[in-house]
Amino acid sequence: MSAARELPAAEMPELPLLSVDGLSKFYGARLGCIDVGFDLYPGEVLAIVGESGSGKSTLLSLLSGRLAPSAGRIRYRMRDGELRNVLGLTEAERRLLMRTDWGFVHQDPAQGLRMAVSAGANVGERLMAVGQRHYGDIRATATDWLGRVEIDSDRIDDAPRAFSGGMRQRLQIARNLVTHPRLVFMDEPTGGLDVSVQARLLDLLRGLVDDLGLSVVIVTHDLAVARLISHRLMVMRQGRVIEAGLTDQVLDDPREPYTQLLVSSVLQV
């Protein structure tokens, strides 16, 4: 388990892509998450781990603008290089960002896909949403992307209903990456898949993240997934970030008792 990933130091850019501080969410009197802050740099993969109810999904919803925070600030560096307050964007700007520069991979592909339309249309939807109106081009791009996520091109006209769980998840990834986003949020992307399919998906994700220089915020309860894919790690418990650092550092030498417990709870085969 020493396959953790390192950013080449020379390529380490100076300016963060996403900058978060003091992010909190309360559901009435109940705590969702409190005082979360971090910087995410271009090409960096940040994993958020923790047990169920630790606030990691809440955090992801806040980051991706699907939920309004009670307090805190989220800033994102737009393509023009300007760092802008995501919470201050108009709904139109936010939705445009969501379908061009950002991606969101759901745990359940049925949430992120249109199950009733073909794989090609699923991949092409974002292209059409940003104004592409040439059928042949859209189809060629869709075919290319299906190939990149290892789906046979003769399945392009099949609906995702006819796909296996692993294929659906790969299709969802292709659908998100087709507009070349710079930041992708992933919510347990390997959840519900069996281990061999998980391994293949992780392999694919690693390749895509490297090729495209993607920044990723990935939520997972599976430390092995975090180990394989992420550069940095945040451990959450009861809505707070209790430990953060380089993935290898946190997993090999956990400081907090809870992290130690988490690491030692992983079954060894």
Binding site: R95, V117, S118, A121, G124, M128, R133, Y135, D157
Partner: protein, 295 residues
Amino acid sequence: MNAPLTSGYNFAYLDEQTKRMIRRAILKAIAIPGYQVPFASREMPMPYGWGTGGVQVTAAVLGADDTLKVIDQGSDDTTNAVSIRKFFEKTAGVATTTVTSEATVIQTRHRIPETPLKEDQILVYQVPIPEPLRFLEPRETETRTMHALEEYGLMHVKLYEDIARHGHIATTYAYPVKVAGRYLMDPSPTPRFDNPKMHQSPALQLFGAGREKRIYAVPPYTDVVSLDFEDHPFEVNKFDKPCALCGAEGVYLDEVILDDRGGRMFVCSDTDHCETRRADGNRGEMSPDSSENRP
């Protein structure tokens, strides 16, 4: 405006307050072409799906000196058309006609008359489902946001699916259009053959959806553009033969089954247009009095 004393109804069935409410919705709809304006749709003495929306709009715009024409699938003499025409004869006492050029208000289901409309005419459509995005996005809150932010990529997903499955855009009716370069609009279940007639039409076009409680409009001389792809441009339905009764070409035809041995004929869907042409001496290949068929 008093109704004929014998009828016992207010003029055009609806009370004046209701008509004012509908007129306000219509004015707003005209001010924002293609935008669906909610209105307090009333129960009408007919079932939903029979044109309750169109009837309410017609009742609101009808005046005592108007001449009403009602068509259903292009025909003046189907049950629906006859019933609605009688309804307004009885409740409003207005003159009715089947001749397109004589009518000032035309209520229609599924067709736009072949005879070009004029500036002093109002075309009222009966609309079953006003939301063009409905079958792609079931949430009303979401479709409203999509309209507000002009996010219409999803509509092209449907057209993409058509081409992927059939090799061409197979949507033949309720073909989505963009009105005045802004709002995506369902032209009601008219065949796409009629879409070009909506573009820059001199007549005012009003759309009423009774069950869905929406009114929308295309003001005169407004751009109405059918959606398409650059490499799969919009085309109207084409027919191999002219009308079998009047020989008209470039009109929308209905298929009529003649027997159980595969016999069929294609005739004008617009009955007024067909009758006018026959009265002018035009003949098709299956006209009873055409030279070939004469005994």
